[in-house]
């Protein structure tokens, strides 16, 4: 997993190329990658890589990074080389003070590495001042002002602060490394092409013994296997330089050939402090960048969802989206009666017992010579017999909460062939003194509307009975 994969993942999550089903299918087929989230993401990116628009943002981004890094590295190398030449420039009259070079190859690298270390610890911060100190950061800011479509794409791509900080840290190490390589090459070039007299000079009151002790400490990494690269006490004494009088001491002139011996110490100092330690820092920053990458992969919006879709069983309880539902457009029924007549030729009750019909008839003050139970536990033959006995005007009672099924409608149609008029009267339940709910009445009206029979009338108004009931 690298930066390119990260940019590809960002782009892929934006276009969302796969469905939940496809992601789970991918998880089931990639059994070997189970419990390895990064490997799963990587394989997923490879699978859908081709769906991304060309040129790939990852390629544009990588090439931009490569080019800017190369430019910065080359500039650092040249700057390092020129700085080396400047530091070691020797006009033959005055020796080269090794302290300046030591500052450049020991103090400066150690100081910047310390800052880098702090930057690494604070890399999570979106506005890390120490990261802003890096030349890589501000030089890139300058480069980003250059016009061009690529720049626009790059600017539009928002990289996580953590990743961006680690990128800058790593690239800063590369820049510093090449700067140091430039210094080392300048040192070697000057040593080879010129006869440089090195000396050490300081205003501070430092005795050669103290300075020797300091240098021996500085040279601890190589003093055992390259003792000649550690300045001897003798060399230090011979190369101490006082500018007072503006002339070289006789002793220095006597040992002029030995003054050049300092170069070994300077070269080893550069190799160890400015190059070896910097390479170490580079590897640490590479490791840090990789970790930041892993973290950024997992904190990227959508990546956790993707992993869940890949790994978690896909559970669905849904039906296919087609929902075959019939909704009637009939909103009402035209043949309505509001008051009942005093008598009917017969009163019938749908799934209502004969005793209940008698009570109901009494309650609604309807006189009739015939009471019949229909529907319910009656057989169809029994219903037919009731029809055969029916004539004139029929009051047909039904339970308002039991909306009429087709069976009821069949009966009404059959009955209508035999009688002159049918008044259908839904009756409420006893719990709420037989009150009929408006929505139940609507349902009855809709059902009656579906048969459109001129003999069939509906007693639609809310009916309250005094006592008794179904």
């Amino acid at each position: 997993m690298n930066l390119k994969s990260y940019v590809d993942l960002v782009a892929l999550l934006e276009v969302n190329p796969s469905s939940r089903e496809e992601n789970r299918a991918f998880g089931l087929t990639q059994v070997l990658l189970k419990n390895r989230p990064m490997a799963q993401i990587s394989a997923w990116i490879d699978l859908y890589h081709n769906t991304l628009k060309r040129p790939l943002l990852s390629e544009t981004f990588s090439s931009y990074l490569y080019n800017t890094t190369l430019t910065l590295v080359l500039m650092a190398f040249v700057l390092g080389f020129l700085s080396g030449l400047g530091l070691l420039s020797y006009n033959g009259a005055e020796p080269v003070n090794v302290i300046y070079f030591m500052v450049m190859v020991i103090v400066l690298p150690l100081a910047t590495m310390l800052l880098t270390g702090i930057s690494m610890l604070r890399a999570k911060s979106a506005q890390s001042i120490l990261v802003h100190l890096s030349p890589a950061f501000w030089m890139e800011k300058m480069l980003s002002l250059l016009p061009g479509k690529i720049q626009e794409n790059i600017t539009a791509f928002k990289i996580s602060p953590l990743l961006s900080n680690w990128l800058i840290i790593k690239r800063s190490q590369m820049i510093a490394l090449f700067f140091s390589v430039g210094l080392l090459l300048a040192l070697l070039a000057m040593v080879v092409t010129k006869d440089i007299a090195f000396a050490w000079s300081t205003t501070l009151h430092i005795t050669p013994e103290v300075f020797h002790g300091f240098l021996t400490t500085v040279a601890f990494p190589w003093r055992d296997f390259a003792p000649s690269a550690v300045p001897s006490m003798e060399l230090i004494e011979q190369s101490q330089y006082f500018r007072l009088g503006d002339t070289l001491s006789k002793e220095m002139i006597t040992h002029a050939s030995q003054l050049g011996e300092w170069w070994k110490f300077l070269a080893f100092s550069t190799i160890f402090y400015a190059i070896f330690l910097r390479v170490t820092m580079f590897f640490i920053s590479s490791f840090g960048l990789n970790r930041a990458l892993m973290q950024s992969f997992l904190t990227l919006e959508g990546s956790m969802r993707l992993l869940k879709e890949i790994n978690e069983p896909m559970i669905s309880t849904h039906a296919k989206p087609t929902n075959a539902a019939f909704v009637s457009d009939d909103m009402g029924y035209g043949q309505i009666v509001n008051t009942l007549d005093a008598s009917y030729d017969s009163v019938q009750g749908w799934a209502i017992t004969k005793d209940e019909i008698l009570v109901l008839s009494d309650t609604i003050e309807v006189i009739t010579p015939k009471h019949f139970k229909v529907g319910g536990t009656n057989s169809l033959d029994e219903d037919d017999e009731v029809i055969s006995k029916s004539d004139g005007e029929v009051l047909l009672l039904g339970k308002s909460w039991e909306h009429p099924a087709n069976e009821f409608l069949d009966y009404v149609i059959d009955l209508s062939r035999k009688v002159d008029k049918i008044i259908i009267m839904p009756i409420g339940g006893s719990e709420n003194p037989y009150d009929i709910k408006a929505e139940d009445l609507d349902e009855w009206a809709k059902k009656m509307a579906s048969i459109q029979n001129e003999k069939v009338w509906l007693k639609l108004s809310t009916t309250k009975l005094q006592s008794g009931g179904v």
Binding site: I129, S316, A319
Partner: protein, 471 residues
């Protein structure tokens, strides 16, 4: 006559059947966690059977059928009774009825509801115990007995009145198992309990239904985790987001200040709305209609900060750049003097560079190159500094998630998400608040989001959600 039930073992199937308009579709919606099921007060709304399979990675573990209600039960029973057969042949007569009336529009509903049963589905007979028992149900139950399939009765309560005692007495004659289930007020435990009862209908269904119950538990876990993850992302994004508005005058106008505030608030509201939508989808409430007050920012002291950038660098970045450039230039001068300047060049360079960058920032931003000013001024609002805001947002998100998770898929009325005072006071205890504050502080700091922190924050929210929903 072919007997489908004697074929190789298939996944358990259950047909939800009954009288029209007794809540069959509501029960199916609740058991299948599907709010797309058409539920209506109008009887006969369902005219075709509809399958609701529980699929895990494409494999069906069990299947639920929503069916039309009986319309001509007595006629069907009369047809069946015309065939005088022994009990072991009765199911064949039912199959014969289906075969003979497949194209008969009069028996469309009966054929639709009997087909899955004759295909091996267990029967779940639904009645509404808020209405009195009636003899017209007996023909339906008798037909179901003819099928010979294992069956249970489910007592639903559409209204508050209760006739369950008389219903239980009647149902007991036809069904060996009678259970009560209110699809409008169901919860996870009740749902699983009904599944367990369904498993008891046939011995070979016990194992697959047990697996289904286990998967449902896992499914619910997934829903909790995904919701917590979305809420965590909502809080993080809302707290850390920064809104910018560029302006081209010396000073931002009141209108521009108002605009950035509106944009900022709208952005936070959009975050919340899209998170809510995603959470509803997670809990299979894609069709939820809700009423809710929009997110308000009362007493939050939102203010926009006027700032600018030169070369794309903020004042601070330019200051650092100035210091660094000055130091490098000064160090060059030091080199030229072979160090005799005692590195003062570098120090002075840094000071001059830094001071210049700091005080020259405004002037530099006014400089025009090719008609364009080098600097850009903008108003900036965010990240949200108000310490209460994450809790307001979290409270709303938690309440919404809780309501969505607890709402039955059978409900179709508009859902009111108005947080009550009790919830406001009780959803968060002191310990949880302290734990949450640690993460909110990190979100506000502008630090990169740490995967471990995010996971821990999600776990914390998951715990709170579980406590709220499961009690």
């Amino acid at each position: 006559m072919p007997n489908h039930r004697q074929n190789t073992f298939m996944h358990p199937k259950f047909a939800v059947v009954g009288h029209p308009n007794k809540g069959k579709s509501s029960i199916v919606a609740a058991l299948a966690l599907d709010d797309s099921v058409h539920i209506s007060n109008t009887s006969g709304t369902t005219t075709k059977k509809r399958s609701f399979p529980l699929r895990v990675d494409g494999k069906v573990l069990y299947e639920l059928f929503d069916t039309p209600g009986f319309q001509r039960a007595r006629r069907v029973l009369a047809w069946l009774e015309k065939h005088d057969v022994s009990a072991d042949k009765k199911h064949e007569v039912v199959q014969a009825f289906i075969n003979e009336h497949k194209e008969d529009a009069r028996f469309n509903d009966e054929v639709e509801l009997l087909e899955p049963i004759m295909d091996g589905a267990g029967i779940i007979y639904v009645v509404d115990a808020s209405k009195p028992y009636g003899e017209e149900y007996e023909a339906e139950m008798e037909i179901l007995r003819w099928t010979g399939q294992p069956s249970m009765a489910l007592i639903n309560h559409i209204d508050d009145t209760d006739y369950s005692a008389e219903w239980k007495r009647a149902l007991g004659h036809y069904f060996k198992m009678v259970r009560t289930f209110n699809p409008m007020q169901t919860n996870f435990e009740q749902h699983m309990s009904i599944l367990e009862s369904m498993a008891q209908l046939k011995e070979e269904w016990i194992a697959p239904i047990k697996v289904s119950i286990k998967l449902f538990t896992q499914y619910q876990e997934q829903m909790f985790e995904s919701s917590a993850s979305l809420v965590a992302r909502l809080v993080y994004e809302s707290v850390s987001t920064v809104e910018k508005l560029y302006f081209y005058t010396q000073e931002a106008s009141e209108e521009e200040k108002g605009k950035i505030e509106r944009n900022y608030k709208d952005r936070l509201r959009d975050f919340e709305i899209s998170t809510q939508k995603s959470i509803e989808e997670i809990w299979n409430h894609d069709h939820l209609q809700k009423e809710e007050k929009v997110l308000t920012f009362e007493g939050m002291d939102l203010f926009s900060e006027e700032t600018a950038s030169v070369f794309g660098l903020t004042r601070k970045e330019l200051l650092i750049t100035g210091v660094t450039s000055g130091a490098v230039t000064g160090a060059g001068i030091d080199l030229l003097f072979a160090g005799h300047t005692l590195l003062l060049g570098g120090a002075i360079g840094a000071l001059v560079g830094g001071t210049g960058a700091y005080f020259g920032f405004n002037e530099l931003s006014e400089v025009k190159v090719l008609g364009q000013t080098m600097g850009r001024r903008y108003l900036e609002m965010g990240p949200m500094e108000n310490r209460n805001f994450p809790y307001i947002l979290l409270g709303r998100a938690m309440y919404h998630t809780m309501k969505v998770a607890q709402t039955s898929h059978a409900k179709r009325e508009v859902f009111d998400i108005e947080m009550d005072q009790t919830f406001k006071e009780k959803w968060l205890d002191v310990t949880s608040r302290k734990s949450l504050e640690k993460y909110h502080k990190k979100f506000r700091s502008g630090k990169a989001l740490d995967a471990v922190d995010l996971k821990a924050y999600e776990a914390l929210l998951n715990h709170i959600l579980r406590h709220l929903i499961d009690g």
